[in-house]
Subunit: 282 residues, 2 copies
């Protein structure tokens, strides 16, 4: 297994990792000060400061944008809801293009409130993706479906495995252009007995992103208790070896939601820890 | 979709549903008083009163035992741990036989503390199952692998989908004798995009058990916040239709861990609610 110690340029920090500590400007400053060359942006932080200003900050700092978080949320109870989701996704594509993001990360949405129609929600996702792909293509933005852990299937994302995401890619982009693919976040997929096989199935063209953090035992909160790499049970190097076997050589993005721990520490400390763990346990 | 209102004999109560309120004797009394004809037993409750006494109570009440919970936990850090697990599973098989349980429910175990070797744990499960099957067969007890939700993959069960459980069955019992099969608990598998297909793959011989409860939104605790059928997002009748299409006509077992709600109500109220929901929303 090759170490990442010699490729610090592959480290990217998802802004969510220091979201409690930093606004957009502070995040760019802290990441730059730490000598890290990549960032993944979040829409709410971008909106706070304004798209043009966020893009300028990132360009001036010469940061690479590994992804823009997040589009998706395609599912809705009625046509108005679908139309609103569409409008919002068009804006997200524009933002990703303006920010120079490698891809727009898609959290596809769960069932509308009150619904038990999981297959219906999945059909809405398929239709929403098919509708969005030509727009994204024209804007030069890749669409990256991020399967979320099955514990989010009801209310956040009804796409829960790499295999399921690839089925969607096959349906929408049968020639595997790579314009639509998957974001592999170890937190969401580490448990999947099909993982190695589905990563191989994805291949380089559809492997758009690789996100790392760790699964803590016990996990105290279903949403906001992700661990720093090395503090949990995920064999990150093994999963990385599978994506790299397919030729993935892009950013390795740290995305940690941690209300009880990392969001309470100074951003500089969090980033130093990310760098150290990136070089030693990823 | 056929209603269950006309087949009340199919309702079985997993003892965990009233575990906070009732010891073994009380559980049998409450279930009998509610006019319910099935129970699934838990080992700790059986041990409290003693196996012979528990079996006598159940026989005297003429309750059918839909399953005995639980064997498994095959994974360990060393040979001593493996040997202990084996001994414990041998006792569990004996108990299931003595109780007249339809099957021994297996929660297979997660990774030993400190381990990140998920595939190693899964290999230990395969070996443990292969070792136990002839013993169970000789005792006339079926082994039922219960895939748990992926959120338990680290510390409770590294078998997380029906497909994965069936792969184990194929490896150990290629002739599909039915002596080893799966327990389908909607709470654990409702999200699985492969669910319908894997239930069809299982077929009648390997569909050993069908457990119901519901997935609440939001879920407040990863272990002890299951919902009463109808209070969450799971389309239970649809999943039931899939198992019944394969010929499953066995017990429908209610298993609810609910620290904040159902464990705080009188057992009689819980059981009446189970009966009502069984007849209307399952």
């Amino acid at each position: 297994m090759n170490s990442l110690a010699n490729t610090p340029h592959r480290l990217s920090i998802n802004q969510a990792t220091i979201r409690a500590q930093c606004d957009m400007k502070q995040a760019v400053e802290e990441i730059t000060r730490a000598g890290i060359s990549g960032i993944a942006t979040w829409r709410d932080k971008v909106h706070e400061i304004g798209l043009a200003q966020a893009a300028r900050l990132i360009r001036d700092a010469e940061l690479k944008v590994s992804g823009h978080c997040r589009g998706g949320m395609f599912c809705a109870a009625d046509k108005d809801g679908i139309a609103q989701a569409r409008e919002d996704n068009l804006r997200a594509v524009e933002e990703a293009a303006e920010l120079g993001a490698g891809s727009l990360i898609l959290v596809v949405g769960g069932m509308p409130p009150g619904s038990k129609d999981l297959s219906g929600a999945r059909q809405q996702v398929l239709e929403g993706l098919a509708d969005l792909l030509p727009v994204a293509r024209a804007a030069g933005v890749k669409l990256s479906i991020e399967p979320l852990h099955p514990m989010y299937a009801a209310d956040r994302a009804c796409v829960n495995t790499i295999g399921q995401a690839l089925d969607l890619c096959d349906a929408i982009d049968p020639d595997a252009s790579g314009d639509i693919g998957v974001a592999v976040d170890v937190y969401h997929v580490w448990w999947d007995p099909e993982l190695e096989r589905q990563i191989a199935r994805a291949g380089k063209a559809r492997l758009h992103a690789f996100h790392v953090c760790d699964w803590l035992v016990p996990t105290q909160d279903m949403l906001l208790d992700r661990g720093m790499m090395g503090d949990g049970v995920i064999d990150i190097p093994k999963i990385r070896s599978w994506v790299e076997r397919e030729g993935y050589d892009g950013p390795i993005e740290v995305e940690i939601f941690s209300e009880r721990d990392w969001w309470r520490r100074p951003a500089a400390e969090v980033l130093e820890t990310c760098k150290e763990r990136f070089a030693t346990v990823c």
